[in-house]
Symmetry: D2
Subunit: 461 residues, 4 copies
């Protein structure tokens, strides 16, 4: 296994990363990137085990509901690239489908996953294409590269062009797991390509945006100073992919298999995070209501009850998705797709109301509280201390820290990223409605409907 | 065990039942009461087992999540008084608390439950008091009987006065299980009384309302002709209760123990029924969209997806409440109170939107469809047949039956009862918010809140 | 002008009306129909003026926002067929479009409206076709009569076949104003037919449903005993329409003109009724909270504030639709279509939550309160009186009457009709969203969007 | 009237302003403050009129609904301190109440307003106190200065201590209009003090927070680079207020009069801004859907229709508040309080859903789009240009500018400020519900309720 130091060293591999228009030579020291790199390094150290054969639990294949539960707990304790390790599970989960097309894909996948585990590497899930005009299919775009595609076929591999958007943590991983974004049709064979590729492979560039705090004083950003994860547009400019790294190549009927498999794990992660987040926001609402001295006001208590309700319903869906997990023929436990989707939908679509509730409880100081630097200033500090005092027992500095945490989580840069990505992750709210509709047992519902009408099931239609 | 015929015979026991101002001599033949009585009788027959010692599964004590799941399934297959058997579970579940007060209560409860099981009797849950002015406690009401109370204490029992409202199926049961409606305070000792009493005991009258179809043609009411369950105001006018039937007598600190225990089971029933109902309404929306030929219209498909989402989230809460069940010291499995409440709240508060969705999909024929009698009429029938035709493959009569089922369930007498009782059952939406707030692990949430602020848990407050 | 007696006499004209499978010989005496007929007759008498040339204000053409406001007030004071008189306004409002096609249509419309006014007749708006398979256009239906159409053209008129659904008050009017339900396409000329026809014309039958109280004791139905308006499927079986009564005949490009014109007035009526209804439900919530003694409970006061909010927002839309009325070239004031639609949408889609709020405030007695007949019963009446008592100052009988009103309005037969028709009137919620989208000034919104992006309006796209 | 240059000069008056812990010597050049100062200066120039006696229209007293409408239009064209000029209207609007207490207050107010107009000064509304423990009244706080109060009374004025929070634009104005935050009780006389004071008066310090863009490249912040308005905690440390500037002094029964009067104008501003904002967000959703090529996808079109609905309903409330304005005895037009509050509540409480809709339409590039600097980079720029291309006719740079505008408005620093302040402005959602409840005509609603129950109004209660 790698130590944190090994990890940081490994990132100095010539990768081409750009931030706000400028090339970054070393992601481990550049402002806005250094902090997340160090956060991941600390994660490596927390899980480091010098024993030979030891590996990070993110590479453990879950075989039961309990394993799934353990995995979720682990992900919160590990660094945030642990979410991405779901790409390995997705590849393994797609084996059933891929085996039929060509058993060699399965062998390559198993080799790739074994290598990731052995070398303790971090990976990124690389899916969304640029898409150009979304009303047109890949093969009818004005620019044929709007979806990533094979532009040249060689004896030992393929060459690809294209760009993948919204790639979480891309500048911090070793391997990119690339797959088609959706179901392809006849004529889209060149767009039907899945593979792994090192992040520093020739022809790859990463245009990165960060949601890291933009100010100097990290005390103003108690959450985002630790958890702002960059995203990148990953550009593929004539990138060579050797055969051994290819997991799918032209089989249009399987084009969506890996992405679909991954979608499930991504939404599970999203759901688990939102369940945790829901508890955190509820706790902040409760604490600030006490700091303000309003926790017993009926309308405040009732808003907090609404928040606890949201948190509980979100968690109920997570629970149901685990205990109703499906065990595949390979013995892998897959969370229940129906509950994962419904839960992710509920949590994401109601999340904005949680933000509103929290702001309603906390008041305007969420966005107007003085900073810790104001508190330090010898002239004005004593006044800030005096007037930011709330209910007895709460220090002004602590009350201010709560306001800053609330602002940082729900009314600032990282907050914006949460709002935007909660909705977009997994393809927008419509996508979750579609999956729920497809996974829902409509035949059973129809039977109840016929029965209500006093008719035999399937009387018509 | 009793047969259906035994059951009907047993109801002719002199009980005093009134409907719409008139005394009913025999509930097994009176219009509006005969139908539910026969429905229960059929339930007896479905579960009849002549073997000695056989008993109805509604009296089985659940000991695991699986038992709870089986119990829910059984309740849907049995007659609707099976819900009420939860009163036995509630009494058994309160033993822990009552044992401390007086072990004799526990003995009486166990004897009572054993007798119910042996004699295959049906029971009612008798809780809500008349309450008078709700802003005042029992002992300060203008009429001291506004809450049921002991008006006389004798050597062998007590005499009670009062009225209990909204008692489901009261005219159809053998035993009433009576308990205080809420936590009592010092001075309320006479109001702290729980007991069982036969439905035909002297001094008991039942003022009954039905939501049975008010028309002659039951084809117009495919659902309510079977499932309209009467409720009654049960009046206690100097009713003698022997000591052996008393389960609580003056211990104000335990006054809410049985009702609280029962509340959990009632909300579980409510949640399970609403989960079933949600699937049924979704099925009806789907079927009528096909009958109308609009199932592929995007906005219709999307509404149905919303309905499937509601059904799934409701069921996720039910699932979580079962798999996270608590096993009591007596070995009884109690569903998880947090998930039961949150689920019941979600389902009840969003239910009205399901009704709206269903009406939006089905269209105005829900409330204007001709009747089956119109179809039978030789003059007008052929026109009704001709013009109520929808998409190919659906007979007019079937499409009309679907409209009638939707109306009966969501836009007619029984529908009104669903709307009203969904909200009120378990004490109104506020009650569920309160219980959720109390059961929610706020300390864990607070810890996440402190952590977000970068402070040690419990830094203040 | 007609007196109420004149009106009742005029209904005995041989019209063919069916209810629940049976022909009704005289709608003025048949149970379920007599009550609404008498309600309309009383409306005639309230507005009767023996002066020559006097006419009912429902035939007044509004020329200003104030006239529109006066019209709304009048409609609530008149009988409920006053809503239908909007068909005259719709015909007059469509003159601009029809004049271009053929001036004779305008002359016929003006003659028809003048005759309605002079003879004080009542009319019905006859629009929705049977529609068969809704995924198919009129000319591709399995049954060509699925949309009403001309089956024969004669020298002096046309013969039509078809059925029109959901026709409010049809059995109680003198004239049916029939129009196509939607925009027709080339080949649909025979479906493009608008006309007036007497309700007793040969070949017309009306299959009627009522939402009148189904019980004997009207005290149990304080609202619906007065306001249950029957709907009918109106069947046209080879009905001859003379030329002079035809307002549109084959001009497919104008097929939707009258219905669109009428839709605006229908939605205005719907919006005005829902505004009134909203105040009524808020008042009932407030009164029952006082009767129950809970009006000061914070969560109850807050629910009532939510209801007042809904009522106010609904009324704000009504206000805006009146004060922003458009004056046509003919000098007629038309309510603002954007606000009418948005308001109708808001009110209809949130209405179900008002019902939930009211039930949440009122409690389970909404569906379980004893009847007035129970109160009259000498045995049980005193107990009902004693135990239905609420807060001081409220008589039991009055508190019960409030419960009955709430049930009748929101949890019984008429309530179901409200729920269903609120949503379906005006074509379902999607229809209102479409109209709002079309009427909304998207170009102005786009300009603001471009400006936010720092770009010139219309930079692209 | 002042020019922009005059204005900037006038701000260099020794005022004590702190930002992030450091004293700012000159607010017209400090980063984060310079930009808004210049924005205001441009506003001065736009309205400059050299004619003697000319004055800014923000000081015009509205006398009709049309004047109110004109005022709203003017505010959007003027600089953002125009909102604050409502403090003058609020003072004038409170004259009726204050005249009874002491006519001298009225004279001082009129002199103050005349001076503001003559000298073209900008003012701030200074209301919210620090409040300490919100469960306690002013006089029972641990720190008696938790609410601003008179600490010394002199022959020619008073000396005050305290702090006022969330003071919009405070560092940019000339005069602070200070008033009590709420209704005071007996014993709170020293807290009942209203006055005006120059922003640079001895003893005043302003602890300022900005929501200005934190990055260097303003192209990334097309909205906030212009509209980020700082807020300040304004500290009063033994500030002397001369008699002539005092508008209220100890009359506890009038303590809330000015704040109440101001609240109405503040909420009107909030409502007008949210109506404008709603159109802007709808326009952005529409434009980005076209840029993405998805504007014809049914679910996208439907989301945009929902947004247009929100914008329309918000505007309907604004319209109704203007056309139903009340004309005071002084001839001033006051917007209708009921509609202002209901509208502000609706707009603020549903706003978060607008943000969700916009994110759902726009997709993840809202938070991951590369910057304009990336587009400028010679290495990576061509790829950004190539892959950020959307539907034909949209330049990549324009599509990116739309994403940046959406992020800046709804998913970044300024966005957070909008979310937080929308809810908190005017006192939280509960405050609007309370005002609506108080202003709503409950007696009229009760009459409808009694009537529904078939009873005479006021039968009981």
């Amino acid at each position: 296994m790698k130590t944190g130091k090994d990890y940081l060293t490994s990132l100095r591999d010539g990768r081409k990363v750009y931030v706000h228009g400028a090339r970054v030579d070393d992601v481990t020291i550049a402002p806005g990137l250094r902090e997340p790199a160090e956060e991941i390094a600390r994660g490596y150290d927390r899980f480091f085990d010098p024993a030979p054969g030891a590996y990070h639990p993110m590479f453990e294949v879950p075989r039961s509901a309990e394993d799934l539960r353990a995995r979720i707990k682990m992900v919160f304790e590990a660094d945030f690239t642990a979410f991405n390790s779901a790409a390995c599970l997705a590849l393994l989960g797609a084996r059933g489908a891929l085996r039929a097309a060509d058993p060699v894909y399965v062998e390559r996948i198993e080799r790739f996953v074994a290598r990731c585990r052995a070398e303790d590497v971090r990976i990124a899930e690389v899916i969304s294409d640029a898409k150009g005009d979304r009303s047109l299919p890949p093969s009818r775009q004005a620019d044929p590269d709007a979806y990533l595609r094979v532009v040249e076929r060689r004896s030992d591999g393929v060459v690809v062009n294209g760009a993948k958007l919204h790639i979480t943590a891309a500048p911090f991983v070793h391997e990119l797991v690339v797959m088609p974004t959706k179901r392809m049709k006849a004529g889209d064979e060149d767009y039907t390509i899945a593979f792994s590729i090192p992040a520093n492979a020739p022809g790859i560039s990463m245009v990165t945006v960060t949601h890291a705090p933009r100010g100097d004083d990290v005390r103003h950003f108690p959450v985002s100073r630790r958890y702002a994860i960059p995203q990148a547009m990953v550009v593929f400019d004539h990138v060579f992919v050797p055969d051994d790294a290819i997991f799918l190549n032209g089989e249009i009927e399987l084009s969506a298999a890996i992405a679909h498999s991954l979608g499930l794990w991504e939404r599970l992660s999203g759901l688990a995070q939102m369940a945790e987040h829901a508890d955190m926001l509820t706790g902040l609402a409760h604490l600030i209501s006490e700091a303000n001295g309003v926790s017993r006001a009926p309308h405040v208590a009732d808003i907090i009850a609404h928040m606890a309700m949201y948190a509980t319903i979100t968690r109920a869906n997570l629970e149901a998705s685990l205990t109703q997990a499906e065990i595949t023929e390979d013995g892998m436990a897959k969370p229940n797709e129906l509950y994962v989707n419904a839960g992710k939908y509920y949590a994401a679509s109601e999340y904005v109301l949680m933000v509103r509730h929290l702001h309603d409880v906390a008041g305007a100081s969420v966005v107007t509280s003085p900073t810790m630097a104001d508190l330090d200033n010898p002239d004005i500090g004593p006044f800030v201390e005096k007037y930011m005092k709330g209910a007895q027992g709460f220090e002004s500095a602590h009350r201010m820290a709560l306001f800053h945490a609330i602002r940082d989580l729900t009314a600032d840069v990282l907050a914006g990223w949460h709002l935007g990505s909660n909705i977009s992750a997994g393809g927008g709210l419509m996508a979750q409605r579609l999956v729920t509709r497809n996974q829902y047992d409509m035949q059973a519902a129809d039977r109840l409907g016929w029965s209500a009408a006093g008719l035999a099931p399937g009387a018509d239609g």
